[in-house]
Assembly symmetry: C2
């Protein structure tokens, strides 16, 4: 990481000119009353862009936020957990509109300056009578404090076990800008947008065309390279607001490099936090596929391995089962010569030329690695220069138990 | 089912002119000594064809059996469980060759008349010193009895909990031919060949070109329409031998229709038995996708749903979660208008026009259906005439527990 990049507290409130607040409205149906709604507000109009789910089934807030982003501007984001407002048809769109309208009235801004995100149960209409008072409460208590950003990060949790925040200060000459964000996401995590929500705020001034380009690039290398269960949800959203309050505008190549690095740092932190908190998972695996004929092939092989139920079960059982990994590579739809494949755990070769290469002592060593909470797996196809890196998890009995029903959200 | 088709006992020994025998050689490493090798032998040379895994990582017995099938003829099949002889490189090919050589010597036939199948652990060399005496024992005790076919069906079990056999007698005018088979398969079951082995024997006389064509067609509608975990293995094999001992040759359109129907009946029985015995699964779901723009689209949607970890977990929890089904349909890569989708459980609508359509009483009724051991799910996309039918299962904690390691095989 660049020495100009300094980790700071504050999440979505780390950057100057942003306020936030959370409310507990009772949208989450079980357990004690918890935060389940929040507002993130820029004191001045901000450049805003988003990256959304590729699922053809898009939740109402995704449809509405895309519409409100057409002009590349926004002032506020309203987020709720406990109900995804997905598969809710026209009434769902109306409900999302009413959420943005209520925020607009409470803040004295236009509804199309308000973005909206929802996460939670699919197929149930939003309880607007609970949401409206929540919006008023949050709007009345907006603050730029670490406590406010923490409450906001908590308010978007569903099956997440911990709130997820990250922020950095970036020196540019004698001045500095800040960037921070929060995310939620635990199950339904897959490349091409996870079931995740993420809001990133920066006080740099960034032209919307560049912000759109760089957010796409960074997302493809962070949030789109993690997978928990291969499912791709209806609500995935990454929103980024840039309000320019720092008076630093991102224009030169050096400034763009610094901004890209900082955005990548925030997204990488949040992506890793999402995987590490995967529903019921017990291990984080850094999977690298190299030597593929193309980058696309490397991703195909990576996803086949990272999403294979059998590979993931083996990892849960501390079994460095290179056979299942090779098997998954074989059906990935990529060029492959099984007799060339090399597989290693934390740098220790498990297979070379498509065959096991360890004696009993070596296998015991591999099993010790696969029993760690975090380890790396390298799959080298020895065919070309295509490479892909993914973060993935194991598949545990706890995952299944947690997902037997989502009534508990 | 046609009235000319009569279910009979006997599995691979049901058809005339076939003998079989099983042996317990100690290839399966745990528990008491169990059958783990068998021979299926035709008394006369038979027409023979096979369908094999599409995985680029092919096990040695797959490579060798394909080679031995080039002339469209075979006399015998040797099968073992406990070791898949996959990812074993050149030594693995040699071991498979030595298995067929040993059978050839024991039976006094040519090695290229012998086909070979293995199932079990991947990446470990075959214990040939245990296999050779097993082949001699089996060759010495060949019989055409229901007990012999049952022992053979048991000998190919790995994590299967029950042996899988099926056989029919088919009346053609005043004469009849017989067809029967056995299969194994429990995990790594996916469309485009499951982790399964299957041997089918018939005493009809069938030209190899027609036998190849019809086996492909029937396989695509039976074994390739089942999925347990979406994984596609290195060893999948369906072999079919036709020895003509019944003196009925399949030549006319009517004879071909009768044969196709009988082959389909055997394969459908075995495919259903494989799904019903899916590792640690508790439910069998008949999934129909209709109204797709094309048959390929229907299959894409069907596989996305049938392989979704979240859909499968919901089923395990008796949760008729149509939202997760719609979500999976949305990322299947097929044409879809979410607002047109209809989802029904055992004929009871759960969602219409992409939205839930039941009150609390209706939802309770749906939950009762989803709690059954077997139920049907219909997904109608209302876009065209494409249709696909799949058999699938839920995803349980037991599945994960069973697959934490395959050391137990």
């Amino acid at each position: 990481m660049s020495k100009n990049l300094k980790r700071i507290p504050g999440g979505v409130n780390a950057a100057r000119g942003y306020l936030s607040a959370a409310a507990a409205c009772g949208i989450k149906r079980t357990g004690p009353l918890r935060f389940d709604l929040c507002l993130v507000v820029s004191e001045v109009p901000a450049t805003a862009v988003g990256v959304f789910t590729t699922n053809l089934v898009k939740a109402a807030p995704v449809i509405l936020s895309r519409r409100h982003l057409e002009d590349g501007k926004a002032r506020a984001v309203v987020l709720n957990s406990g109900n995804a407002n997905a598969c809710t048809g026209t009434p769902g769109i109306r409900a999302a509109e009413q959420m943005t309208n209520a925020v607009a009235v409470a803040l004295g801004i236009d509804a199309d300056e308000v973005l909206v995100c929802s996460t939670g149960r699919i197929g149930v209409q939003l309880p607007l009578p609970k949401i409206f008072p929540g919006i008023v409460m949050a709007a009345d208590s907006l603050k730029a404090s670490p406590a406010a950003s923490m409450a906001s990060a908590k308010s978007i949790m569903t099956s997440d076990s911990v709130p997820k925040q990250s922020a950095y200060e970036v020196s540019v000459g004698r001045k500095s800008f800040r960037i921070g964000g929060m995310a939620k996401g635990a199950g339904m995590i897959s490349p091409n947008m996870a079931t995740m929500l993420c809001v990133i705020t920066t006080d740099a001034g960034v032209p919307s065309s560049y912000l759109r380009k760089i957010l796409g690039e960074v997302t493809s290398k962070t949030f789109n390279c993690i997978t928990v269960d291969g499912d791709c949800s209806t609500n995935d959203t990454v929103l980024t607001l840039a309000n320019g309050v720092s008076k630093i505008a991102i224009r030169t190549a050096a400034e763009k490099k610094a901004f890209a690095e900082a955005l990548h740092a925030v997204c990488a932190d949040l992506a890793r936090a999402i995987v590490a908190d995967g529903e019921g998972t017990s291990r984080v695996i850094e999977l690298t596929v190299k030597g593929a004929k193309s980058e696309a092939d490397a991703h195909r092989v990576g996803r086949a391995i990272a999403n294979s139920q059998l590979v993931k079960c083996a990892w849960a059982g501390s079994d460095p089962n290179w056979g299942r990994i090779l098997d998954a590579a074989g059906y990935a739809g990529a060029f492959l010569d099984p007799d060339k494949v090399e597989i290693a755990y934390d740098g220790v070769a498990a297979a070379k030329k498509g065959m096991g290469c360890q004696d009993a002592k070596g296998e015991a060593r591999l099993r010790k690695i696969a029993a760690k909470k975090e380890f790396s797996v390298l799959v080298d196809l020895h065919l070309g220069k295509g490479e892909a890196r993914l973060l993935t998890t194991d598949l545990t009995e706890d995952y299944v138990r947690l997902n037997l029903s989502e009534f508990s959200l």
